[in-house]
């Protein structure tokens, strides 16, 4: 896919810290690519169904006390959240002067997010959302988006930005070239771009370097090369952590198995942009 085709960026907003980071990253990227920003807010149907149950009760987060919860009250709270999400989107869009739209849907959250993003070229969402366990790994929506989504997806987390030096996983495949193209489009001239080559032989590595240099020529981007012969996802994650750069950009059509890819994305505590080609 040519990244020039990213015209619409969908971002899932649930007002959690991860989704705020997603919104900021999506807005920054839309600003750079002159793309449209689509905000998605999903009213969790499970939540509404729970409230309809006769014994519905919630346990308050900061007091640990039980409180009755009703549909009406819940709907009001969801409306408030949606309004907050819309305001956040507006503010971000105004900051980067980009066209934007906002959609509210109701249903099972991962499915609704994927469905709403179907017309977008890129879906941005948090690595984890408002999941109960504050888990370290991927949230349910992120997992579903990775497993079932067909579009390029970016999983964000707080503390990172699109402007921090990106890291591209490059193995010379068509998929990795697409990843590098995407990285090139969202890196400012004069910025640094890390490239991690997973070539197994020095010759292959040299070839990859040549390709990369040729692709980046004339952009003003300063590449920094790293090399790790392809191994399992855990080692790769370790090495990426050592490089300590920003968003990791990779492709689903590289020389990595689906399992390694999933393990890598799950294991690594960095934001990830997974480039998918139609």
């Amino acid at each position: 896919m040519k990244t020039g085709m990213i015209r619409r960026i969908a971002v899932a907003i649930d007002c959690s810290p991860c989704s705020l980071a997603s919104l900021n990253a999506a807005a920054e990227m839309a600003g750079m690519l002159r793309a449209e920003l689509i905000g998605i807010f999903v009213e969790d149907i499970n939540l509404l169904r729970m409230a309809e149950l006769p014994f519905a009760e919630e346990i308050r987060l900061y007091t640990a006390t039980k409180e009755k919860i009703g549909t009406e009250q819940l709907e009001r709270l969801l409306r408030l959240q949606a309004r907050e999400a819309r305001q956040l989107l507006q503010r971000a869009a105004e900051q980067f002067t980009i066209p934007h739209s906002f959609r509210v849907s109701r249903g099972i959250v991962p499915e609704e997010v994927i469905a709403a993003a179907i017309e977008a070229d890129l879906l941005v969402l948090g690595r984890s959302g408002r999941s109960p366990s504050c888990r370290k790994g991927l949230g349910s929506t992120a997992k579903t988006a990775l497993a079932k989504g067909k579009k390029t997806v970016m999983l964000m987390r707080p503390g990172f930005s699109v402007t921090t030096p990106l890291l591209v996983l490059y193995d010379g495949t068509e998929g990795s070239r697409a990843a590098l193209e995407t990285a090139r489009d969202i890196t400012r001239p004069g910025g640094t771009l890390h490239l991690l080559f997973t070539a197994e032989t020095p010759e292959e590595k040299t070839r990859c370097e040549r390709e990369a240099v040729s692709m980046l020529s004339g952009t003003g981007i300063r590449p920094e090369f790293h090399h790790l012969p392809l191994s399992n996802g855990k080692r790769l994650a370790q090495f990426i952590r050592m490089i300590d750069s920003g968003i990791l950009i990779l492709s689903d059509r590289m020389g990595l198995s689906d399992e390694t890819l999933r393990n890598l994305i799950d294991e690594i505590d960095y934001p990830v942009l997974l480039v998918r080609q139609p």
Binding site: E52, E58, R130
Partner: protein
């Protein structure tokens, strides 16, 4: 009784022979300006400064301008360098009680270095602390603690979530918390589906959910505890890292101040405080430019105020001192003595801190000597009490006067008092010393030594040379012209004139210094390099001229006969007395006509001045003495049957003193004896009941006053003044008078007894009584007795006629 001879010129003025000096000009002298002749005062100063017990402070008393301060300072300047250098003092932040800043005592020169060391420490920490806290090790350990908390929390909830899932129950995040709901195929059961379940199933689900809720509640109850624990762990880590970064810096400081227990304790307190507040060093202080341009925000303002606590306020820095300090405080206000706590305005409110504590003169003089002017001290509100309190308690306690008297209401400080060991020297006039001594019970306790300065010095070679040295030292110090020895001699002569005694010199050195300055001015006008006697004389003449306006107006009135003073004829019962007028620091003499009239009476002498309450008690006493003399000499065998009235003609102000009593007696005798008095004489001197003439003050001014009048009317050779013989030693007359006496155109007679004076004044012998007590016929005394006898008889006849009628 023989008439005394007129005084010779050498008795009128005691010259100072310049040839007695073995220098050519004062430039040949060594420039030392030690005060001579003040043996008593110097002995007291030596004693007061030498004795180390409490309360032996010194009061140097004497008229102003007698060189008290110079003498004391000269003595202390010799003494102080040999004494040990006192310690430095500084105030530091009190971490336990910030309202009571701590006083730290350090060896001389160490306070300043502690101040700069502390500044350096804070500066260093701004680089050391961020480096320590941004190190990979710290970041990793901190992340580990945070993640372990997240993990602990996440694991507990995940386990519960898992357990719930096993029973087809989902843990759902609500906007404000958590909830549980039964699921089917990953979706929450709709309520109608739930209601379709069997009652037992529903109850089982509800029970399970209730159990899960309880479990979740207990997990959530644990979360704050885990959070606290992780915060404690992070705090512990921070302390460890900050302590590790700080330790070498503090150790370095501790070794620099080894042996100074207070400083070591202070450094330990600082170490603990910095470890507790390490985060303050992670962000840079606002730059001075920001502060200057007013860009400082409230937060950064608070931040910069925070670092004040690590500063050192050096009150006393004796690093450059040699020996003990000698401090003269020119403005001894309370806050200048004991120090002050200043306030700064911040956002419209007054704030203060220990760095705004200002030292006073007592701090600077601690361990040495403090010289104060007593009058100025007493004029400053609360200053005297503050000084006494400090001396009594032997501590300097800084109190804000405004705070003490509720003039401002804001947060203030109570700094720890500083031990005081100081010798205070008060300089003041005698009346102040005696007033304080009488009315202030503390004074005698605190100022046990009095150094009484002489008003006059003996006029001997040593003191004459001291005058020359004083002039020489002034010339060196103030870069004015040196005096040649004739000029010095003229100054010495003027010193005698100021003392009012030819055998003394004034110790009022201020007058001498003024004369030196003025002489230098006139010498410069003449384009001379050295001051000569003529310059001194010109300065004296100019001084006289500047001050002589009133004197000249009075003389003019006499010349116009507005004020009647006869200097030409002979008159009965009338005489020229001499009075002295004091205007500021200038005195001048003026003749006054005194008249006496007699009539029959009961022997009383009426003083008209006293009757109208224009005469002072001493004057009245003098007049009453006249009755005693008349009675004892002339009324032993008959009653004194006269009444006499005495008056100072044309006097419109009060009269005090008995220096006119001899003149009054002469007028009275002239009136009784009906013998005219020669008006070309003027008389001064008091008299006792035996007719002896006694010394008076201001003899030079009195003679000059009469001479000036006669001189303007024209000297005839007859004119002169009768003065008490005992005043001859006080004569230091003007050169023109000495010249007139030498020419024979003016005379001065030393009179010891009234009989001598009356003979000079009338030209008639007073008469000496024979063995029977009878005076020779034709003498003044015989005429007086004859007239009194006649009056007594008349009185007797009158009384007899009066009794017959009755």
């Amino acid at each position: 009784m023989p008439v005394p001879a007129r005084l010779s010129t050498d008795q009128l003025y005691t010259r100072c022979d310049p040839e007695r000096f073995d220098f050519r000009t004062t430039a040949d002298l060594d420039g030392a300006s030690e005060i001579a002749g003040q043996f008593r005062a110097l002995d007291a100063i030596r004693f007061g400064m030498g004795i180390m017990h409490d309360g032996f402070n010194l009061f140097a008393l004497g008229p102003s301008g007698t060189g008290k301060q110079t003498t004391v300072q000269q003595y202390l300047n010799r003494l102080a360098p040999e004494a040990s250098r006192p310690d430095d003092w500084c105030y530091v932040y009190n971490f336990e009680q910030p309202r009571n800043p701590k006083a730290l005592r350090l060896p001389p020169g160490k306070a300043g270095s502690l101040g700069s060391d502390m500044e350096h420490l804070v500066e260093t920490l701004f680089s050391v602390m961020p480096a320590a806290f941004s190190s990979e090790e710290y970041q990793a350990r901190e992340k580990e603690i945070r993640e372990s908390f997240q993990e602990q929390q996440g694991t507990a909830i995940e386990e519960l979530e898992q357990k719930a899932l096993e029973n087809n129950i989902a843990l759902i995040r609500t906007p404000a918390g958590f909830a549980f709901a039964p699921t089917r195929k990953g979706e929450v059961l709709k309520s109608e589906d739930f209601m379709r379940l069997k009652k037992e199933e529903r109850e089982a689900i509800e029970q399970e959910i209730e159990r899960l809720k309880n479990s979740l509640q207990s997990i959530m109850a644990q979360i704050p505890k885990w959070h606290r624990e992780s915060i404690e762990k992070i705090k512990g880590l921070n302390r460890e890292v900050a302590g590790y970064a700080l330790k070498p810096l503090i150790s370095e400081l501790k070794s620099a101040y080894e042996g100074l227990d207070d400083v070591i304790r202070y450094l330990e307190t600082i170490e603990n405080d910095i470890v507790e507040n390490f985060d303050q060093f992670l962000e840079k202080e606002p730059s001075p430019q920001e502060t200057f341009m007013g860009l400082i925000s409230t937060r950064s303002g608070q931040k910069s105020r925070f670092f004040i606590r690590y500063r050192v306020n050096v009150l006393v820095d004796n690093s450059s001192m040699t020996g003990a300090p000698v401090v003269f405080e020119d403005k001894p206000a309370s806050q200048n003595l004991v120090g002050d706590i200043e306030h700064a305005s911040q956002m419209g409110t007054l704030v203060t801190d220990f760095t705004l504590i200002k030292p006073g003169a007592l701090h600077r003089a601690n361990g040495g000597y403090l010289i104060l002017d007593a009058r100025r001290l007493l004029l400053e509100p609360f200053a005297w009490e503050a000084l006494k309190k400090a001396l009594r308690t032997r501590h300097i306690r800084i109190e804000s006067l405004a705070q003490l008297y509720s003039l401002v209401s804001t947060v203030s400080l109570e700094p720890e008092p500083i031990p005081l060991q100081v010798k205070v020297i008060l300089l003041g006039e005698r009346n102040l010393y005696y007033l304080l001594s009488t009315h202030d019970p503390d004074f005698n306790e605190l100022f046990k030594v009095a150094a009484d300065f002489e008003d006059e010095l003996d006029r001997n070679d040593e003191n004459q040379l001291a005058y020359a040295r004083l002039i020489g030292a002034m010339a060196d110090r103030e870069k004015i012209r040196h005096f040649d020895r004739a000029a010095v001699a003229r100054v010495v002569e003027h010193g005698s004139r100021l003392a009012g005694d030819a055998t003394k010199l004034t110790s009022h050195l201020q007058s001498i210094c003024d004369l030196v300055h003025e002489s230098d001015y006139h010498a410069s006008g003449q384009g001379r390099d050295t001051v000569i006697a003529a310059d001194v004389q010109q300065a004296l003449d100019a001084q006289l001229f500047r001050a002589s306006r009133i004197q000249e107006r009075m003389r003019e009135a006499m010349l116009r006969n507005t004020i009647l003073i006869d200097t030409d004829t002979e008159k009965t019962g009338q005489i020229n007395g001499l009075a002295v007028y004091s205007l500021g620091d200038r005195n001048f003499g003026k003749p006054s006509r005194i008249t006496a009239r007699i009539r029959l009476g009961k022997g009383e002498v009426v003083d008209i001045e006293r009757e109208v309450e224009m005469g002072g008690p001493i004057h009245s006493k003098g007049v009453l003495i006249l009755s005693g003399f008349l009675g004892a000499r002339y009324a032993l065998n008959q009653p004194l049957s006269l009444s006499a009235t005495l008056v100072f003609e044309q006097s419109y102000g009060g009269i005090e003193g008995d220096s006119a009593s001899s003149a009054e007696l002469y007028a009275l005798l002239s009136s009784i004896a009906d013998i005219p008095i020669r008006q070309w004489y003027a008389v001064t001197g008091s008299v006792n009941q035996y007719g002896e003439v006694q010394a008076i003050g201001g003899v030079n001014e009195k003679i000059e006053g009469f001479f000036d009048l006669c001189h303007q009317r024209g000297l005839t050779g007859k004119q002169g003044v009768l003065i008490p013989a005992s005043n001859v030693r006080n004569l230091m007359l003007r050169n023109d008078i000495v010249q007139a006496v030498e020419d024979g155109s003016f005379s001065i007679y030393p009179i010891s007894h009234i009989d001598e004076g009356i003979e000079v004044l009338t030209g008639v012998p007073a008469g000496v009584p024979d063995a029977e007590g009878n005076y020779p016929p034709g003498t003044v005394n015989a005429k007086v007795i004859g007239r009194l006898k006649m009056m007594a008889e008349k009185q007797k006849k009158f009384e007899e006629r009066h009794e017959d009628k009755e």
